[in-house]
Symmetry: C2
Subunit: 119 residues, 2 copies
DNA sequence: TCCTTTAGTTACCAAAAGGGAAGTATGGGC
DNA sequence: GCCCATACTTCCCTTTTGGTAACTAAAGGA
C-alpha cells in the first residue's frame, strides 16, 4: 500500500470516523439505538422532526458502515428492528464521551451567558 | 446562537457535539491543530483539497464555538496562528478515541475485504 | 368493504453547501 | 515600479442535501 494521499480520507482517521457518525440525524439515531433496540416507527416517534425518507437513508448508511444491524421479521404489518452491531458497541464509549463533553460545553456556555447577562 | 433548549424533548447532547465537530473538514482541521499551533497557509498546505473559502469558514465556526483560538500578529505579510483553546483541549481524548476507533474500523474492513477477495 | 398499521419508496422542488477564481491590503525585495 | 507573500473576502455557479407529499403491500378488525 502506498502512502495515503493528503486528500484521501484515510489520511485522517478522525475525518473517517466523523464521516461515519457525523451525518445529519446520526447523533440522535445513535443516541436512541445505543440505549435499546428500536423499530422504525419507534425511532420516528422519538425523533418526530425527521422525515421517513431521511430516517431510512441514515439508517441504511449506518447499516452499510456496519454500525447497526437491521432485522426483518416476516410479519404483517412489517416489523423491523434496529440495534447496535458489535462494531457499533465499540462506539458506545465514544458516544458517552461525546455526551459528557457536550454537557460540560453547554454548561460553560450557559455560565458565560449568565456572566454577561445585563438584565 | 441557537443551542437546543434543555427542556426540548429533542435535546440530544450527542447531536450537539457532532454539530460542533462534525462539519466538513473539521475532522482534518482538528487533527492538525490538536498536534501543533498552525498558521492559515500551513493548514492550507497540509489539507490541499480545502478551498481558502471553506478553510476560513470552518476555522471561524470552530472559533465561534470556542474550540480554537485565533491570534493575529500585526505584521506584514500577516501572521495568524490557530491553536486549541482550553475547551478544545478537553476534546483531545475524544479526538484520540475517534482516531483509534477509526483505525480498528478500517482494519476490520480491510480484513473483510481480504476474506472475500476472490482474485 | 373500508380503514388501520408498518416500513418503506419515489418524484418533485427549494435551500444550502461548496468549489473556483478573482480581488484586497501592505510592505519589503529586486 | 513590479512582483511576492499572507490571510483573507466576494461573486458566481454547480452540486448536494433535505423536506413534503403521495404511493405501496398485506393482513386484521369494525
Amino acid at each position: 500500500m502506498s502512502h495515503p494521499a493528503p486528500d484521501d480520507p484515510l489520511f485522517c482517521p478522525t475525518e473517517t470516523a466523523l464521516g461515519i457518525i457525523g451525518g445529519k440525524w446520526k447523533g440522535m439515531i445513535l443516541w436512541c439505538i445505543c440505549r435499546k433496540t428500536m423499530r422504525f416507527n419507534e425511532l420516528h416517534r422519538t425523533i418526530p422532526n425527521i422525515s421517513q425518507r431521511m430516517l431510512t437513508k441514515q439508517l441504511r448508511e449506518l447499516e452499510a458502515h456496519g454500525i447497526i444491524t437491521r432485522e426483518v421479521f416476516a410479519q404483517i404489518p412489517p416489523r423491523v428492528e434496529y440495534r447496535l452491531s458489535a462494531h457499533g458497541q465499540s462506539l458506545k464509549p465514544i458516544l458517552d464521551a461525546l455526551e459528557n463533553w457536550s454537557r460540560s460545553y453547554l454548561n460553560a456556555v450557559a455560565e458565560a451567558d449568565t456572566a454577561t447577562d445585563d438584565t
